[in-house]
Symmetry: C2
Amino acid sequence: MDDVILMSHGGGGRRTQQLLRDIILPPLANPILDQMDDAASLTLAGADLAVTTDSYVIRPLFFPGGDIGRLCVCGTINDLAMQGAVPRYLTLGLILEEGLPLADLRRIVASIAATAAEAGVQVVAGDTKVVERGAGNGLFINTAGFGVRRPGVNTHIANARPGDAVLITGSLGDHGIAVLSQREGIAFATQLASDVAPLNGLVGALLETVPGIHVLRDPTRGGVAAALNDMARAAGVGIRLDETALPIRPEVYGACNLLGLDPLAVANEGKALVVCAAADEATALAALRAHPLGRDVRRIGTVLSAPRGQVLLHTRLGGERLVDLPLGDDLPRIC
Amino acid sequence: MDDVILMSHGGGGRRTQQLLRDIILPPLANPILDQMDDAASLTLAGADLAVTTDSYVIRPLFFPGGDIGRLCVCGTINDLAMQGAVPRYLTLGLILEEGLPLADLRRIVASIAATAAEAGVQVVAGDTKVVERGAGNGLFINTAGFGVRRPGVNTHIANARPGDAVLITGSLGDHGIAVLSQREGIAFATQLASDVAPLNGLVGALLETVPGIHVLRDPTRGGVAAALNDMARAAGVGIRLDETALPIRPEVYGACNLLGLDPLAVANEGKALVVCAAADEATALAALRAHPLGRDVRRIGTVLSAPRGQVLLHTRLGGERLVDLPLGDDLPRIC
């Protein structure tokens, strides 16, 4: 019974990493795939490209602040943007469930088109399949994205260096909690909306000002906890977060308390983690703050030389606790 | 009740085309997508690329002659090859259903790796999602593929010209009937295997000898009937097939008779339709015959100036019948 796929294998945490390391990656290994970054960097016919793919299985299909259509464009574009690339083209694979209302499909395709236009990318190839009622989700979407890498930019997670500043471009956990509240019918005092947004404009403005940014990463599945744990391991550094600096909305904080979730492990879909040299911090903050999606940027932590491979939270009360890589079974089907 | 997705929307025939034309394509329209070829042709950072995507929802996951892993590599590579491109890289999106045996996943990933090696391509980016038991198929796969276009080669379906020869590289309908027989438990005298195979080597050998091939197309969903109807419409030509020339195995013919299927509308996953000038026919046949996957190539028809947009079958008995675009509800989940 242990030798089957579990929901936690899809959570973006420890179980996902085990599945990749033990089963999926070894037969497929090659130098490009082994980079294990948000997007693959490769050169094809002389062009320096970034390539990525994501499947979207979120439920419900429509949620406060967005829908699966907006999400499937933003998620893939953001992976390219975090690679320091300029996203240009998307492919679109639709798996439709028999019985899906055509009106829902129309709304979702319109949302894909509007979000692609907002981000300045085009859908250039697609595929549509249908599965029997009961064999699908209403709709699963896969997008692959590709773009052109900026010369001289390298934002791989292994580039974090002791002394670097860790910035976040806005509040944490909005996407995961907005989707969960819609799904589970949990009411909050305020209507919380997902932060789903294309980050290529924000990142482009940042890299024009500070091309030497060390690391960019969008904390999606597994949240900031998973992204920073990946970074600490890949770079062989420690990372210390300051709890009083973490931008968490009261309704996210409240929902997490209620549900026993750690806001650091909840998915974001319109935020970037930015790691830069301390000397670049002020310039980076100013460049990000000047963009509508970066108005609330702030520093939340520091890269340290130790403890290597670990993320620590300096708490409000003055103590320290380990921020572990989430196991992955807290928040299924959030993207 | 009419305003929902039906299984026939996924069949690759008339209903699929309606869905694309009425709902999916209009909001997304752009010059590259509007080519509507097997793969998109585009130029990015100076590189002439071909890009395509397909989702695979076949059941069962393992079938005589292949599995979903071999299929998801071949289907996408073949779309690039038909574009006259050299396939180089794939992305891989897995949607796993809770409860899928890890042993099955291992076999499928091994099959992906072996087929990619056979075809000389690499998986460079991937994504893994998990959905609850009952919300999936065991496994859905999406692949997107990237390759480099050969200079001077243009194999778009609109290039068919009156007088051209229509060739097929081997027997028709093997994939669809092999999968259907496995699924429905239909026994045949002989064990029929799917023809699923990567065609980039075969097509590469052909294009080196005859770079001026007019059209290449792999007759997958909707079979030869759908591919030739698309071609007749796009090129504004008629196409006449000779029934006595059609290479159909007795077990495929028998199964189609039993099930009320037209072998011309059944999917192939390792065959190419080749349209070339009559003057190039002998050279093309020789080049294809020299390759293991083209040994049984033969001419099956002729491109005519009329009736425009239609495909005719010159029957064994000397009559003619129209080969219509299939509606799309005969063979669900065959790829």
